[in-house]
Amino acid sequence: MNDLTEFEKRIKWRKSKENIFKLISLVATYSCILLLFVLVFDLFMDGKEWLGLKFLTNFQSRFPHKAGIYAGLMGTLWLTITTALISIPLGVLAGIFLEEYGIPGKIGKIIEINISNLAGVPSIVYGLLGLSVFVRGAQMGRSIIAGALTLGLLILPVIIVATRESLKAVPLSLRMAGYALGARKYQVTFGQVLPSALPGILTGIILAIGRAIGETAPLVVIGALSYVSFVPASVKDEFTVLPIMIYNWASRPQEAFHGLASAGILVLLIVMLCLNGLAIYFRIKNQKGKRS
């Protein structure tokens, strides 16, 4: 009978370990989620009084009540579109080439390792690169085009990897069917495989663009201005972006500027949320397509 009690004791001890583990993993998971809500709530409380049409259409000002993010919004818009125009075609085409055609041998492996390393390089290093090569070397100055090229290089590995993953997911049978009908590789690739992989690629692109919108450090190094009272008229103009305006306001000691900063963050987050929502929509559409 003693054995049974020993046994029961051990079972109880193991069960309680199990329950404790379940509890702390639950707490860990939900505390992060809770933190997210706390963050958003805190931002909302700080910033809601500053949000408004004036906030979106005013330029910077020494006076908090007159300040707005118009310059930043326009700058972000110009910069994002230019970056997208540069990096999306380049990234998608590179991804297609690497995945469908491939480079044999050691060079191919080196390129693969290279891309995954570039994805992990801190964004500020890209800023140093942009400063030396684009701002100074190519003498583009602190212009939108310099910033767009820098950010483009930054998100390029992300787009390439996303493209490759989406292409990998396309079943081999689709390609084989194309070849069996006598199509050339480019016809199969661009006529069959690419359209099939498109939702996944779009998801990757959207997430990459979302990343570019929120980037601050490389643009600071390039020299995007903090106090701007004009809207860019061409890609050669100087500019500011929303994250830098937020940083500028957040670094000031006055409370009012902190409120402005949180309002700016709310605008930024809404933009990112819309983009993420779009990405999730495409991802769901992608999965549905595969199931049918």
Binding site: R14, C32, L43, A94, L129, A217, A250, L269
Partner: protein
């Protein structure tokens, strides 16, 4: 047939057009390395490497000038270690919860939320650290400074947590069902299966995820710039204001530094150190991932 000839020509044209796009990535890496080296040599011409790497006083802009980078390194280390301390345990626990305990519906809700957490721009975290975390910490540690390493460490930890949990969750799910089911059949609890089977099975990939997350933390810029300050001092006290390598580069970029002279080159010297550290860690992490890929 003529159409065959045309399509063959087009095929070669497509290949010739696509090929160079892949080279861009190689050019980028080479350019980063070349530029960093070139500008850094400008720096190391005047300051000996040993002074830089082992000096303990970083004061490149104020007289008397000193170029020992260790305070920046310890600043980065403090923030990174703190972030890892938070992200690794919590990330692992979250991964276990997602892969073992959470119902599929719940998992489909939680995963996107974690992704949102990861996608929030870093200045937002910096702002959060400054306006919420530091005041909250002040209640527990009244002697904490307005800018401090701990605040930065906490928000960076939150930032990299989704990376750890997502990577670990993926590899926990890849543990063969047969092994887990066998353990359950023998009467093991989920905790025992997780610790004694799942974790050892995926250990190398889990470690790789840690390395990659830490590398990300090292390169983190805006959150620590806002939260941890611009005071390069050699300290291991997380309650004090410090400066990380990344925050220093921001400080120089924002200030009025001429495009030549040692001060300007400090940017690149710190940059090359940062690049070398993160590159080393990334290579190591990916090597582990590649070696133990059980697909």
């Amino acid at each position: 047939m003529r159409s065959e000839k045309i399509s063959l020509k087009r095929e070669y044209m497509v290949r010739a057009f696509l090929g160079p796009t892949a080279i861009v990535s190689v050019i980028t890496t080479l350019t980063i390395v070349i530029i960093l080296f070139k500008e850094a040599t400008g720096f190391f011409k005047e300051i000996p490497v040993t002074d830089f790497l082992f000096g303990t006083n970083w004061a490149p802009l104020i007289e008397p000038k000193s170029f020992g980078v260790l305070p920046l390194v310890t600043g980065t280390f403090l923030v990174t270690a703190g972030a890892a301390f938070i992200a690794i345990p919590l990330g692992l626990l979250t991964a276990f919860y997602l892969s073992v305990y959470a119902k599929p519906n719940l998992r489909d809700i939680i995963k996107p939320i974690l992704e949102i957490l990861a996608g929030i721009p870093t200045i937002v975290y910096g702002y959060f650290a400054l306006t919420f975390v530091t005041p909250a910490l002040k209640i527990i540690f009244p002697e904490i400074e307005v800018f401090n390493a701990l605040s930065g460490a906490i928000v960076v930890g939150i930032m990299i947590l989704p990376m750890v949990s997502s990577l670990c969750d993926d590899c926990f799910r890849e543990v063969p069902g047969s092994v887990k089911e066998g353990a359950y059949a023998l009467g093991a609890t989920s905790f025992e299966v997780s610790w004694q089977i799942t974790l050892p099975y995926s250990l190398s990939r889990v470690l790789a995820s840690f390395i990659l997350a830490i590398s990300r933390a090292i390169g983190e810029t805006m959150a620590v710039t806002l939260a941890s300050g611009a005071n390069p001092q050699l300290t291991f006290n997380p309650l004090k204001s410090i400066q990380t390598m990344t925050a220093y580069i921001v400080q120089i970029s924002l200030g009025d530094v001429q495009a030549s002279g040692v001060e300007y080159y400090t940017c690149y010297a710190v940059g090359i150190l940062l690049f070398a550290i993160t590159l080393g860690m990334n290579l190591f992490g990916h090597a582990i991932l590649a070696k133990y890929r059980r697909v």
